[in-house]
Each structure stands twice: as C-alpha cells, then as structure tokens.
Amino acid sequence: MSIATTDSAPARPGVIGWIIGLARRSPTFALGFAIVLVFAVLALGADWLAPFDPVQTFPFAVLKPPGGDFVLGSDGNGMDVLSRVIHGSRYAFGISLPAGALMVVIGVPLGVVAGYKGGVTDEVLIRILDVLRAFPTIILSLAVVAAAGASLLNVVLVIGFLDSPIFARIVRAEVLALRSATFVRAAVAVGNPPWRVMFVHILPNAIMGAIAQLPVRMSWAVRISATLAFVGVGVQAPAPEWGAMIRQGAEFVISGEWWVATFPGLALIALVLGFNLLGDGLQDLLDPRRRATGK
C-alpha cells in the first residue's frame, strides 16, 4: 500500500514560504495581502512615484478634471490629486501601524493578566470594558481628540487606547480557556513564577486570535483617522490625508467636481478592504473548525 500523504506544494522554508502557503489556502488572504502590499509600496516610494509634490499649488490649474497633466485631476488649491492620494498612504500607515502596536502592547498583557489571575483584576477589566462598550468609538474618539487637540500623536494615542480593550477581551477569553489546561498546570507544578506561566507558556498559545484581529483593527484605525480628518478634528488640510482631502472635495461634489473627493475615498476604501480581507483570511486559516480532522 502506498503512503496516503500527497504534496500539492513543495514546502518552502521561512516566512515567505509560510505566506505563500497561506495565500494558496485562502484567496481572501492573498488578495488582502496584495492590496496592503501595494499601498505599503506607495507609502515607501511616494517621493519617487508621485508625479508632483503633494502640496505644490498650480494657481492656473484649479479644479482641472482628470486627464492631461493631472491624471486624477487637481483640487481647489490647484494641487495634483494623484500625488496627494499616493502621499496619503503615508498617513494611513503612519497612524494605523503605531496605533495597532499600541492596542497590542496595552490590550494583550491586560487580557493575559485578567484571564489568568481572575478575581478582582478580571472584574475591574470587565467593568471597564462594559463602560467603554457603552460609548460609540467614533464619537468618543472625536470628542477626545477635539478636547485634547488635533495632533497626529493624539489621534494615534486615542485610537490605540480606545481599541486596546478589544484585544484584552479576545486574549482574556483564550487565556480563560487555557488556564486549566494540562500544560499550564504542569508549568505551575514545576515551579514557574506566575509571570513566566502567563507570558512564556500561555501567551504564545493565546495570541492567535489577537493576531487575526490586528489587521481588522488597523483597518478601523485607518477609517477612524480619516473620519476625524474629514470632520476637521484630525490631520488638517493641506496635509495630504485622505479624510482631509475628502473634506476639501465635499463642497465641490454638489457642483459636479466629483474627482477631488472621489479618489481619496477610493484609496481609503481599497486599503480598508485590504486590511479587512487580510484579517478575514487569517481568521479562516486559524479557525480550527475549518481544519476538519478525521475521527
């Protein structure tokens, strides 16, 4: 009898091989990854890829429709929309990456400690989560940024802080399930201190759900920061931030100059979609129910 394991792909070593493997199993993941990659390239190479300086004005080319020198048209200040859209990806990553890092750095340890220690720590965390759940994130972040001042740093801090409870909750749930697992009890029994049990033994096993959630929350960060800028309390025009650009374009929509608001919006949607697909794909890949096993 032959061995019943067949290779459909030769195993490639390292991170690249892993990503290719994931992409093959989940087209969703692959598409999301590709979109995010494109924007990452745009952000890194904006200075070379953009045809113009994003804040250079052409006084005689105000509100030119797409085509000609200005591929995506020009805005009310006579700035090139395409260049501004390309540079806008820097703001998107510049906010979502540190905000995402902040969410993880605050949320994950909180979740581990609350889930493992239980008792008062857990009770307090749950209460805080309940309180924050009662507030709509959009309005709370708007109000806080408006009150604290519209700086890039404040936007990152507010988004990072407000979203960290989500990570705390996910990690807490996983830790709770693992707390009485045999390997944890074994780790305790051989005399590991609590912090070591929590962060060396439990955390690596509880982190997957949070990892899959990260792209989704980063897409949220991109959206919220654009919303703040659109309303006028985040990054301010003429900085080439997508939300701020949509704000600039909003007044022209009603008179038919659609391109100023449309293109930054499309870029925003594409990147948010990319992050969401990435997260969705990851969740599918990590969901044990989709990895059915024989009985």
């Binding site: 709509p136 959009i138 009150a147």
Partner: protein, 337 residues
C-alpha cells in the same frame, strides 16, 4: 413578576457601568487643552473675571467635589447650558433626538430586513456563489466610509440624475412643516394629514436612509452568517439531520435559535449607528441629534458635548437592557449568551 425582578437586577448590574459612563463624560471636559472658562468668558475677559467664572462653575473645587456636584445637577435634570444656543442642553437633546432616532431606526430596521435573510442564505451554503457575493458586498459595506458614500450618492442622484432633492435638511424649503408632535416628520405629517409634507419628508429621507441602510446591513449579514454557521455545526442540528427532518424544518430550527444572538447584535448595531448618524446628518444637513452633537464637538461647546456623549451612552445601556429583556422572553433559559 419575573420580568420586573430581572429588570431590577439588570439595572443594579448596569449601575457601575452608568457611573463609569458619567465619570468619562465628566472627565471629557477636563482633559482638554482649551480652558472652558476662557472660552466661556471670551477674549475680552480679565483675570478677575476668569476667576469669578471659575468659582461660579465650581472649577476651583477638588475633582471629587466637582464630580459629586455634576452628578447632583444631573439628578435634577440639569445638563448645563449650551453656549452656542444659550438653551438648556436637556431641551436641545429632547428636541433633536427624535429626528436622529427616526433616521437610525429606519436604517437599522431596513438593514436587518435585508441583512438577516442574506446572512442566513449565505450560511446554508458556505463558500457557494451566494456566500461569496454577499461576503464581498458586506466587506465593501464595512470598508466604505459613511460620509464618502453620502457624497457619492449626492453626486449621482442629485447632481447627475436629478432623482433626489437637494441634500438640505429634512424637508423641502417650499413645504410647510406639520406641527411637532413626536418629532418624526413622517409620523407628524401623517398625523396632521399633511400629504405634501409627507411626500417631501420621504423624498428627503431617501438618500440618507439608503446609504445608512447599506452600512447597517453589512455587519448584520456577517454576524447572522457567523451565528447560523455556528448553529449549523451544533449537536442539535446534527441530531435533527439524523432524525431525517426536512431541510425546511432544519432551517426553521436554525432560524429560531439564531433569533436571540442576532437580535442582541442588532441592538449593539443600533447604538453604534446612532453615533454614526452624525456623519450622515453632517453630509445631508439633517439637523438631528448627531448633527447637533458633532457641531458641539467641533465648536468646543462642552456642556453640549457632555450631554451628547451621555445621551448616546445611556441610550446604549437602555437598548442593551431592552434587548436582554426580549431575549429573556424568547429563550426558556435566561442566561443563554
């Protein structure tokens, strides 16, 4: 009796949450880089005047005393005065709330009517063509910013196609508004028999509600699908299949068991969309609570901001309570989820 006891218990459980909510709204003003006293007094005020206002507002007291004072005034229904309108904040909230509620309830209702069947259908054939399409569409719904969708809708349906009226509020300028009874123009127009106002109100609602419905439906599709898939994988559905129940009966069991979790989710949707309404209202010059609150935030009208955020938070506490009561009625055991 059971319901009364349950409500009381839930209110007790909600009490710390409400206290936390109040504390956060109270702190909102105090983290600011702007001094509310300076803003109130205006640029002409001198130092003595500033001190006087500060004492008047109690801002020179310790934080705890201030918080207690804030709670005491709230208990008496005093949410302070908006300095834009010089009206009591409570009056403004009561005046603006029905407008936003009308918009939000319509959109969430329509979103649920569309989203639940789509999510169910997708769940019954996971990874089939319908599931794939609904997944892409709902991902788009997740990704498109509310305000951008509003702008595009205005461009296409107002500017290009001339199908929609100008995005200038809730009623055409040529139409006489019906007397305010509930605050919902649709209901008030019907009550007054003012058909012209009704037609205009519905026409004005068309675009914002359509945009908002799409945004409301997307998460409902996703959640319904997830809930239904979880139920489809449960022991009792496997058992129902082993009993040879027809696909229709199996679907009915799934549906019945999905009601409570989906309803709970729609409740959370309702509260977050009540907030998201501010952006749609902003675009369509709607003049509801969201529009009013957003303006207050932008202008630094602190009492109004506090009032707005507090309203949203208390509304969500209230909605969760109502939903939990409904679930209690729908499910034989109260603690399920």
């Amino acid at each position: 009796m059971l319901i009364l006891r349950f409500t009381l218990r839930r209110l007790l459980v909600a009490a710390p949450t409400v206290l936390g909510v109040l504390f956060i709204t109270f702190m909102l003003v105090r983290i600011g880089h702007q001094d509310p006293v300076a803003m109130l007094a205006g640029p002409m005020a001198d130092r003595a005047m500033l001190e006087m206002i500060r004492t008047q507002l109690g801002l020179d007291q310790p934080l705890f005393t201030q918080f207690a004072g804030y709670l005491w005034r709230l208990a008496q229904g005093d949410l302070g005065r908006s300095w834009q309108s010089n009206q009591p904040v409570l009056h403004e909230i009561i005046a603006h709330f029905p407008t936003t509620l009308e918009l939000t309830l319509l959109s969430v209702g329509l979103g649920a009517i569309i989203g639940v069947p789509v999510g169910l259908r997708a769940a019954f054939r996971p990874n089939g063509w319908f599931d794939q399409i609904s997944r892409v569409v709902s991902l788009l719904g997740f990704s498109v910013p509310t305000y951008w969708m509003g702008l595009m809708a205005i461009f296409i349906f107002f500017f290009l196609l001339r199908l929609a009226p100008a995005p200038m509020g809730r009623l055409s300028l040529e139409v006489i508004a019906p007397p305010t009874i509930t605050g919902s123009l649709v209901i008030d127009s019907i009550a007054a028999g003012n058909w012209e106002a009704l037609r205009s109100a519905l026409a004005q609602l068309m675009l914002p509600v359509s945009c908002f419905t799409l945004i409301a439906a997307a998460p409902v599709v996703k959640q319904t699908r997830a809930v239904a898939i979880e139920i489809l994988g449960s022991d009792y559905i496997r058992y129902a299949r082993a009993c040879g129940f027809s696909p229709r009966t199996v679907r009915r069991i799934v549906l019945r068991n999905a009601v409570a979790p989906v309803l709970t989710f729609i409740g959370t949707q309702l509260t977050s969309l009540l907030a998201a309404a501010s952006l749609i209202e902003f675009i369509f010059a709607w003049g509801g609570l969201g529009h009013w609150g957003l303006n207050a935030i932008l202008l630094g009208d602190f009492a109004a901001v506090q009032g707005y955020v507090l309203t949203l938070a208390l509304f969500s506490v209230f909605v969760f309570l109502v939903i939990d009561l409904l679930v209690l009625l729908l499910e034989p055991r109260g603690q399920r989820r």
